[in-house]
Symmetry: C2
Subunit: 677 residues, 2 copies
C-alpha cells in the first residue's frame, strides 16, 4: 500500500476548513440590517460567546487533570492527542458559534428579500459549523495517525473530543432548556406576552440557548461521533490488514466524504415557492451519492477488486438514512402518532403524557431493527465469522458502516444547525419589529428545521450506536479479551450496572434542567416586579442577568454527570476487571440508545402535537386541549434537548475512556475480583 | 443422598394448602355485615369471578395450542407439566380471589369492632392467596420432580405458570387501571362526587379491579417467580451435585419456607393502638429468621458441614429485604423524594411529571447495586469460578439466592394482598354508609397497604431479576452453550433486540390502558346522561356494564403482548440461533428490570406525593398544586399497576420459553445465520 496517500486525509480536512472560511466571509459580508436588529443580535452573540468562554474555562481544569493522568498512566503522546482533540472540538464550537450568531441576524435581514436569500444565509451558517466539525475532525485524526502510525495514540484524540462533547451537550442542553422553560412559564403563561417579546428578560437567554445547545452542543456531539467512528475503523483496520489498506480506506473514504459534503452543500438551493425541505434533501442526496460512488471506487482499487468493504459502508449510509426517515414518522404531524397525541390531549395532560411516552417507546422498535440489520450485514458481508481469529474482519465491517453513516457529517451538521439559526432569525425579526411577512419566512424555515433536527437526532443516535459498538470491539482487542461472556457473573453484573447508568444520567440531567429553570423563573418574576416600566416597554429588562443564570446553572450542573462518565469506567475496570467493564459498556450502549431514541422522539412528538393543535385542530390555540399539549411539550423539552441527546455521548465517552485506559486495566484490573476469589 | 426426603416438598405444599383452607373457613364464618354491605360485596365478588372465568376461557385456547406445540416439538410429559402449571396457577388465582372477595366485606364489618379485628380478617384473606401460591407451587414442582426426576420436564410446569402469569398481570393491570381512571376522571373530576360513591357506575369495576389486578395478578406473578426460582435451582443443582444434594437442598429449603410462612403469619397481630405496619413486619421477620435457621441447618446436614449454600440463600434473602427498604425511601412521603415531587407540583403538572420521572430513574441505582452484590456474593461464595467447568457451581449459588429471596413467598403475597382487601373494605364501608369511624380504620389499614405494596413490588422485581438470570444460566446449559459472547454480532444483535422488547411491551400496555379507559369514560358519561335520577340516588347505575367493558377491553388487549412474549423467543432462536437468543434474554432482563423499577417507583412516588398534598401540604386538596399532583398520579397508574409489574413476567416468561424449547433451537436454530454465511 502506498501510505503516502494518507496525507490526503488531513488535506481534505484543510479543504473543508477553507470552505468553512469562505462561507464565513460570505456571511460576514452580508448586510446585518438596521440598528435595532444589530443591537439584539449583539446581545445574543455576546451571551453565546460569554457562555462558551466560561464553559471552556471550567473545562480547562478538567483538561489539565486528564492530561496529567493520561500522561502518567498511559504516555505523553496520548496525552498530547487528548489535548489536541479537546482543543479542536473547542475550536469547532467557537468558530461555528461565532458565525452562527452572525448568520442569524443576516438571515432575518435577508428574509425581507425572500425565502431563498434567507435559506442561503441560514444554511451557509450551518455549513460553517458542519465543515468545521468534519474538517477539524479529519485533520486531527489524520495528522496524528500520519505522525505516530499508532491507533492507540489517536484514541487520545477521540477522548479529547468526547469529553468536550459531553460537557458541551449537557451544559448546552441545560442552558437552553432552563432559559426556554423560564421564558415560557413566566413570560407566556404568567405575564401573557407573546414568544420572543423583547419585554421578557429571559428572551435573549432563550435565543442564546438555541445557539449553545442546538448549534455548539450538537456540533460537539457529531464531532466526537465522527472522530470515534474513524478511530475505531482505523484501529480495527490496522489489525485486519497488516499492509495498511484498512486504515487507508477509512481515511480516504472520509476525505471523499468532505468533498462530497462541499459539493452537496452547493446543491442546497430551491426556487422561491418550493418547500425549503426539498432543497436541503437535494443537497443531502447529492452528497450521499458521491460518497457511495467514491466508496465503491476506493474499495475496488484498494482491495484489488473486492467490493465487500464498500457494501459495509453502503449498509451504514442506507441505515442512517432509514433511521432518519422513521424518526420523521414518529415525530411529524403528517403521520398518525403525533395526531394521536393531539387527540389524547382532549382528555387532559395525563393522557397527553401517557400517549407521548408510549409513542416514544414504540419508536425504538424500527431503529433498533435497522441497527441490528446494519450490524449483521456489515459484519457478515466483510467476511466476518464468529471464529475468534476472524472476528476482527467483521468488526472492521461494523466500524466501516459507522464511518459510512458519518462520512457526510459536514452536511448533516449543516442541515441540523441551520434550524436554530432560522429560529434565532425569527426571534430577532420579532424583537426588532420587522414586518409580519419576514416572520412568516423565518417560521417556514424554522418549521422545516424542526423536522430536520428530528432526523438529525435519529441519525446521531444510529451512528452513536454503531460507533460505540465499533469502539467496544477495539476495546476488547486492547484489553486482550477474546470473549466477553454473558454467562460469567462479572460480565452480567457489568451489563446490569451499565444498563443502569443511562437511567441515572437521565435523572441527573432532568433534575438539573428543573433546578436551573426554577432559578430562571424566580429571576424573571423579580424583574417584572422590580423594574419600573418593563411591561410598557419603557423600562429595559436585564437580559444579561438571565444569561448569567443559565450560564452559571449549566456550568454547575454539567460537572457531576461529566465527571461520572469518565470516572465510572475507570472504577469498574480497576475493581471488577476488563470483562466487567466490557459488560458495562454493552449494557450502557443498549439502554443508552433506547432511552436516547425514546426521549428524543417523545419530545419531538409532543412538540409537534402542540404545533399541530396550534394550526387549529382539536380547538386550536388557547383551548384546554392546547393547554394539555403545552404541558406535554414542556415535559418533552429536557427529554429531547438535554437528557436524550446526552445519552449518545455518554455511551461513546465511556467506551473511549475504557479504550484509552486499556493498559491500566490490563495491569491492575479486577482488584475486587481477586479479593472475592 | 436419601432421595425419599424429596417427598417432604409436596407434603409441605399440602400443609400450606391446608392452612389456606383453615383460614378460608375462618373467614367464611365471620359475620358479613348488613344487607346493603352484602349486596355491594356481592357485586364485587360476582364481577371479579366473572372476569376470572372469562379470562380463563380465553386462555383455554392458548393453553391447548401450547400443549399441542410442546407435545409435538418436545415431549408429552413436558406438555403435561405445562398443563399442570397453568391449571395450578389458575387454581391459586381462583381460590385466592374467592376468599379475597369474601374477606373484604368481613373486614369492613370487623372494622366496626376495632382495628385489630379488621387487620386479622384482611390479613387472613391475603394469607389464603399467599399460602395457595406457595402451596400449589411447591406441590406441583415437587410432585413432577418426584415422579420424573428430570428437571427439563419440570420446566414445563414453569412455562405453564409463567404464561398464565403474564396474561393475568397484563389483563388484570389493564382492567384495574381502566376502571380506576374511568371512575376518577368522570366521577371525581367531571361529576364532582367523592371516591367510592355508589352513584358512580364505574365504582364496582374499580373495586373489582383491585382484586383482579392487585390480588390475582400479583399472586400469579409471584407464583411464577416462586416456581421459576425453584426450577432453576433444581436444574443447576442436578448438574453440580450428581448425588442429589443440590436438588434436595432446594426443595427442602422451600418446604421450610412454607412452614416458616405459616408460623410467621401467626405473629401478625398487634395491639389496638399500634401501627398495623408493625404487626406485618413482625410476621415477616419471624418468617425470615426461621428460614435462615432452617437454611443453615439443612446446609450443614446435607452438604456435610459446608455452609456455603446457606450463605447464598442468606444473601438473597437479605438483598430482597434491602430492595424492599430502598423502595420505601423512594416512594414514601416520609422521605425527601416524594416531598420534592409535591414541591415541584407548585409550578404545574409539567414539573410534577419531570421530577417524578427523574425520581423513578434515580431509584434504579440502589436496587441494581444490591442485585449486583447478590449475584457476586452468591456466585463466588458457593465456589464458582469463571472456568467453564466450574461455572455451574456459582450459577447454582445465584439460583439459591433467588430461592432464598422467595422462600417466604407465602408471607410476601399475604402482606401484599392484604392491601387491596382493606382498600375494598373501605369502598364497601363508604358505599353502604357505615359510620365514618369505620372508614378511618380501613383507611389506616389501606395506607399501610400502599407501603407494603411498594415494598412487595421491589421484592418482586429483585426476585424476578435473580430468577431470570438463574433460568438464563439453565438455558445456556440446555442449549449447550459454554459462552454467550458479547463480541459476536449475533449476541450483540440479540442484546439490542432484547433490550428493546420491554420498551415495546411498555408502549403496548400503556396504550391498552389508555384505550380501555376511554371506553370506560364514554360509558360512565352515557349513564350519567341517560339513567334518570342517577345523581339523586334514586336511579340505579348499571355497574355490570362497566365491569363488562373493563373485562372485554382487558381480555382483548392482553392477547397481543402475551402472544408476542411467547413467539418472539421462538422466532429469534430459530432464525438467529441460541446465542442470539441468549443475548436477547440478557438484554430483556436488563432493560426489563430497570423499567420495572423506574415505572413502579415513579408511579408509587406520584401516588404518595398526591396523598401527601391531600394531608394539607402545599395548599392541600383542591389547590392547583393538588391538581398537578393528580395528573402525576394518573400518569403513574399504568406505570405502577400495568406496565411496570408486567415487565417482571415478560422477562421470566421469555427465559422459560427459551429453556423449554431449547431442544428445538439445538436442532433448527440459526436459519438466518446460515443464509448470511
Amino acid at each position: 500500500m502506498d501510505n503516502n496517500l494518507l496525507i490526503l486525509a488531513p488535506v481534505a480536512g484543510i479543504l473543508g476548513l477553507l470552505f468553512a472560511a469562505f462561507l464565513a466571509s460570505k456571511i460576514s459580508k452580508a448586510e446585518a440590517g438596521n440598528d435595532r436588529m444589530k443591537e439584539i443580535a449583539g446581545y445574543i452573540h455576546e451571551g453565546a460567546m460569554a457562555f462558551l468562554t466560561r464553559e471552556y474555562k471550567t473545562l480547562a481544569v478538567f483538561i489539565v487533570v486528564v492530561i496529567i493522568v493520561v500522561g502518567l498512566l498511559i504516555n505523553v503522546y496520548t496525552a498530547l492527542a487528548f489535548l489536541a482533540g479537546a482543543v479542536f472540538s473547542i475550536g469547532a464550537g467557537y468558530f461555528g458559534m461565532q458565525v452562527a450568531t452572525k448568520a442569524n441576524v443576516r438571515t432575518a435581514n435577508a428574509a425581507q428579500h425572500g425565502q431563498n436569500k434567507a435559506l442561503e444565509i441560514a444554511f451557509s451558517g450551518g455549513a460553517v459549523m458542519g465543515m468545521s466539525v468534519a474538517g477539524l475532525g479529519l485533520l486531527g485524526v489524520g495528522l496524528f495517525y500520519l505522525i505516530f502510525k499508532d491507533a492507540s495514540i489517536v484514541t487520545g484524540f477521540g477522548l479529547g473530543a468526547s469529553s468536550i462533547a459531553l460537557f458541551a451537550r449537557v451544559g448546552g442542553g441545560i442552558f437552553t432548556k432552563a432559559a426556554d422553560v423560564g421564558a415560557d412559564l413566566v413570560g407566556k403563561v404568567e405575564a401573557g406576552i407573546p414568544e420572543d417579546d423583547p419585554r421578557n428578560p429571559a428572551v435573549i437567554a432563550d435565543n442564546v440557548g438555541d445557539n449553545v445547545g442546538d448549534v455548539a452542543g450538537m456540533g460537539a456531539d457529531l464531532f466526537e461521533s465522527y472522530c470515534g467512528a474513524i478511530i475505531s475503523a482505523v484501529t480495527l483496520g490496522a489489525v485486519v490488514y497488516a499492509s495498511g489498506e484498512g486504515v487507508l480506506y477509512t481515511l480516504l473514504l472520509s476525505a471523499v466524504g468532505i468533498v462530497a459534503s462541499i459539493i452537496g452543500s452547493l446543491f442546497v438551493r430551491g426556487d422561491e415557492k418550493a418547500n425549503p425541505h426539498k432543497a436541503l434533501k437535494n443537497g443531502t442526496y447529492v452528497g450521499s451519492i458521491i460518497v457511495l460512488a467514491g466508496a465503491g471506487i476506493l474499495s475496488y482499487v484498494l482491495f484489488a477488486g473486492d467490493l465487500k468493504p464498500f457494501f459495509a459502508v453502503a449498509s451504514g449510509l442506507i441505515v442512517g438514512t432509514l433511521i432518519g426517515q422513521i424518526t420523521e414518522v414518529y415525530t411529524s404531524a403528517d403521520f398518525k402518532h403525533v395526531k394521536k397525541i393531539a387527540k389524547q390531549s382532549e382528555t387532559g395532560p395525563a393522557t397527553t403524557i401517557i400517549s407521548g411516552l408510549a409513542v416514544g417507546m414504540y419508536s425504538t422498535m424500527m431503529p433498533i431493527l435497522f441497527i441490528a440489520i446494519a450490524i449483521l450485514l456489515s459484519f457478515y458481508i466483510t467476511g466476518g465469522t464468529e471464529n475468534a481469529q476472524e472476528i476482527a474482519k467483521g468488526l472492521y465491517g461494523i466500524a466501516l458502516a459507522a464511518v459510512g453513516m458519518l462520512s457526510t457529517t459536514g452536511l448533516t451538521v449543516a442541515v441540523d444547525a441551520y434550524g436554530p439559526i432560522a429560529d434565532n432569525a425569527g426571534g430577532i425579526a420579532e424583537m426588532s419589529g420587522l414586518p409580519h411577512s419576514v416572520r412568516e419566512v423565518t417560521d417556514k424555515l424554522d418549521s422545516v428545521g424542526n423536522t430536520t433536527a428530528a432526523i438529525g437526532k435519529g441519525f446521531a443516535i444510529g451512528s452513536a450506536a454503531l460507533t460505540a459498538l465499533a469502539l467496544f470491539a477495539s476495546y476488547s482487542q486492547a484489553v486482550q479479551l477474546t470473549t466477553i461472556d454473558l454467562l460469567t457473573p462479572m460480565v452480567l453484573v457489568g451489563v446490569l450496572l451499565g444498563g443502569m447508568l443511562p437511567f441515572l444520567f437521565g435523572a441527573m440531567t432532568m433534575e438539573a434542567v428543573g433546578k436551573a429553570a426554577n432559578q430562571m423563573i424566580e429571576e424573571v418574576r423579580r424583574q417584572f416586579k422590580e423594574i419600573p416600566g418593563i411591561m410598557e416597554g419603557t423600562g429595559k429588562p436585564d437580559y444579561r442577568k438571565c444569561v448569567d443564570i443559565s450560564t452559571g446553572a449549566a456550568l454547575k450542573e454539567m460537572v457531576l454527570p461529566g465527571v461520572l462518565a469518565v470516572v465510572i469506567p475507570l472504577v469498574v475496570g480497576i475493581l471488577l476487571g476488563p470483562a466487567a467493564l466490557g459488560g458495562l459498556i454493552a449494557g450502557a450502549v443498549v439502554t443508552g440508545v433506547l432511552m436516547a431514541i425514546q426521549m428524543s422522539n417523545s419530545g419531538g412528538a409532543w412538540d409537534n402535537a402542540k404545533k399541530y393543535i396550534e394550526t387549529g385542530a382539536h380547538g386550536g390555540k388557547g383551548s384546554p386541549t392546547h393547554q394539555a399539549a403545552v404541558i406535554g411539550d414542556t415535559v418533552g423539552d429536557p427529554f429531547k434537548d438535554t437528557s436524550g441527546p446526552s445519552m449518545n455521548i455518554l455511551i461513546k465517552l465511556m467506551t473511549i475512556v475504557s479504550l484509552v485506559f486499556a493498559p491500566v486495566f490490563l495491569k491492575y484490573g479486577g482488584l475486587l475480583l481477586n479479593i472475592l476469589k
